[in-house]
C-alpha cells in the first residue's frame, strides 16, 4: 500500500512513478539521445574541415580557434535564446546551440591530433607515392584518432548535460521532465530524470571509450611512464559551458 501512495506523498524515489510513466520517460530519453547524437555528428562534420583549414593555412588558425572559444563562453540559456529569432521554438534551435558548443573542443583536439603526427610517418607515406587525400585518410587521420575520439568523449558527455537546458523551448529531452517537475514540485520525476541523464552520460562515455580502444589498438602498447590520470587531466583542462 505504502508503495502505491508514493505518488500521493510525493516521495523522491517512487516505483509507481516508473511503472505508470515509463512511456514518458522512454520518449524523453530517446529525444535526449537523438539530440545528442545529431549535435555531436554535425559538430564533428563541421569541425573536421575547420581543423584541416586551420592546419593548412596558419593565418586561419587564430580566428577559427578564437571564434569557437568565444562561443564557448556564451551561457547556454543565452545561446539558445539568441538563436530563437532564427529557428523559433524548434529542435533545430537546440541542436544548433549544442553544435556551436561542440566546435571548441572538437576543433582543438583534431588539430592537436593532426599536428602530433610524426613527420617521418608523413614522409614515408609520401615516399611511397601517397597523394594528399590518401595520406590524410590512411595515415594522418588514424594517427590523430586517439585525440579526436578524446574530444568526442568530452563533447558527448557535456552535450548530454547541456541538452537539458533545451527544456526552455520544450526540446530538452529529460530536461523537459526535470523542468516540468519543478513547476509541479513532482520530486520523483525530477530525481528519476536527473539520474537517467547522468546515467546516459556515463553509458555514452563508456561506449566511446570502448570504440576508442577498438579503433586504436596500437595506443595500448605504448602505455609507459606518464601516469594515466595526469594525461587524462591534460585533456580535461577545458572547462565545460553551463
Amino acid at each position: 500500500m505504502a508503495q502505491q501512495n508514493c505518488l500521493v506523498t510525493n516521495d523522491w524515489i517512487c516505483g509507481e512513478y516508473l511503472r505508470t510513466r515509463s512511456q514518458e520517460l522512454i520518449d524523453a530519453t530517446l529525444q535526449h539521445v537523438g539530440i545528442t547524437l545529431a549535435s555531436v555528428a554535425i559538430g564533428l562534420a563541421i569541425s573536421l574541415p575547420l581543423a584541416l583549414l586551420a592546419r593548412r593555412w596558419r593565418f586561419l588558425a587564430g580566428p577559427i580557434l578564437g571564434v569557437t572559444t568565444v562561443l564557448y563562453t556564451v551561457p547556454s540559456l543565452a545561446m539558445f535564446s539568441l538563436l530563437l529569432p532564427f529557428f523559433g521554438l524548434s529542435v533545430s534551435l537546440v541542436v544548433t546551440g549544442l553544435v556551436l558548443y561542440s566546435l571548441t573542443v572538437l576543433v582543438r583536439n583534431i588539430l592537436a591530433g593532426l599536428q602530433a603526427v610524426p613527420d617521418e610517418a608523413r614522409d614515408a607515406a609520401k615516399g611511397m607515392g601517397y597523394g594528399p587525400l590518401r595520406l590524410l585518410w590512411e595515415v594522418e587521420l588514424p594517427l590523430a584518432l586517439p585525440a579526436l575520439l578524446a574530444g568526442v568523449r568530452i563533447t558527448t558527455v557535456s552535450t548530454v548535460a547541456l541538452t537539458t537546458v533545451g527544456a526552455i523551448v520544450d526540446y530538452g529531452g529529460l530536461g523537459t521532465l526535470i523542468l516540468d517537475g519543478l513547476d509541479t514540485t513532482f520530486k520523483a520525476q525530477v530525481l528519476t530524470a536527473s539520474v537517467l541523464c547522468v546515467l546516459l552520460a556515463i553509458v555514452a562515455d563508456v561506449l566511446l571509450l570502448g570504440l576508442q580502444r577498438w579503433l586504436t589498438p596500437w595506443t595500448r602498447v605504448h602505455r609507459i611512464r606518464t601516469s594515466r590520470a595526469d594525461r587524462e587531466a591534460a585533456v580535461a583542462k577545458v572547462a565545460e559551458p553551463a
Binding site: 540559456l77 543565452a78 565545460e240
Partner: protein, 229 residues
C-alpha cells in the same frame, strides 16, 4: 529581423532598467551570486589542489571530479536542490550549485599547473637547499600561476553562465529577464536578455584575463627576459 530591432528597443527603454525586475537589479543579483560563489570555491579548491600538487598526489581525484562535473547537468542539480528543504532558504540552492560547478576547473587546473612545473627546476631548487615551503612559494607557485589563473577564469565564466540557469529554477539574476520573456512570449525581451548575459560573460572573461596578467608574480621577470633576448 523584427526581433533584433525589438531587442534594441527593449534595451533602450529606460523603464526596463529600473525597479525589482529591471536590468540593474538583476545584474546586481547576478554579480552577487557569482562573486560570492567564486570566492568560496577558490577558498575550498585552491589550497587543496596546490597542496596535492605540491606533494604529487591526488591526480585521480582532480581528474575524476572534473569528469563528474561535466556529466552532471547544472539545471538538474539546481532544480533538485530547489526542491529539497534547502529551497526554502532563498539563495542557498543557487549558491551551493554554483560552488559545486566552480570547484572542478579550479581543482584540475591548479593541480595540473603544479604537476607540470619542470621537475629539473624543482630538483635544482631542492639542490640549492630550499625547504618544502620555499620551494612551493618561490618556485612551484610562480611557475604554476598561468594554469591556476586559467582555472580561475574558466570557473568565473562558468559561474556567470550557471547563475543564468538559476533563473530557470526560479531564482534571480540576469537569466530572469530571459525566462520572463519566454513566459510573456516576448521574443525581443528574450533576445535582449540573452545579449546582456552573453556580453556579461565575455566581459567577465576579459576582466579575469586582465586581473591574471596584473597579478602575475613573474610579470617583471618575464618582461625583462623578453628584453634581454
Amino acid at each position: 529581423m523584427n526581433e533584433i530591432t525589438g531587442a534594441y528597443d527593449w534595451l533602450t527603454t529606460g523603464a526596463n532598467w529600473q525597479g525589482e525586475k529591471g536590468v540593474w537589479h538583476r545584474l546586481a543579483e547576478h554579480l552577487y551570486f557569482s562573486g560570492v560563489t567564486l570566492a568560496v570555491a577558490c577558498v575550498i579548491a585552491l589550497p587543496l589542489a596546490l597542496y596535492l600538487g605540491h606533494i604529487g598526489k591526488g591526480g585521480a581525484l582532480a581528474v575524476n571530479i572534473s569528469n563528474i562535473g561535466r556529466a552532471v547537468p547544472t539545471l538538474a542539480l539546481l532544480i533538485l536542490l530547489t526542491l529539497t528543504p534547502l529551497g526554502e532558504h532563498g539563495d542557498a540552492p543557487t549558491l551551493i550549485a554554483l560552488v559545486l560547478f566552480a570547484v572542478p576547473p579550479l581543482l584540475t587546473n591548479a593541480y595540473l599547473g603544479m604537476r607540470e612545473v619542470d621537475r629539473a627546476v624543482v630538483e635544482a631548487a631542492r639542490g640549492m637547499g630550499m625547504s618544502g615551503g620555499q620551494l612551493f612559494a618561490r618556485v612551484e607557485l610562480p611557475l604554476a600561476y598561468p594554469l591556476i589563473m586559467t582555472g580561475v577564469r574558466s570557473a568565473g565564466v562558468q559561474v556567470v553562465a550557471t547563475a543564468t540557469l538559476a533563473a530557470m529554477a526560479g531564482e534571480g539574476g540576469l537569466g530572469r529577464i530571459i525566462t520572463a520573456g519566454f513566459n510573456l512570449q516576448n521574443t525581443p525581451q528574450v533576445v535582449a536578455g540573452a545579449l546582456l548575459v552573453a556580453l556579461l560573460a565575455l566581459l567577465v572573461e576579459g576582466v579575469l584575463v586582465l586581473v591574471g596578467r596584473l597579478f602575475d608574480p613573474r610579470r617583471g621577470t618575464r618582461a625583462s627576459g623578453e628584453a634581454a633576448r
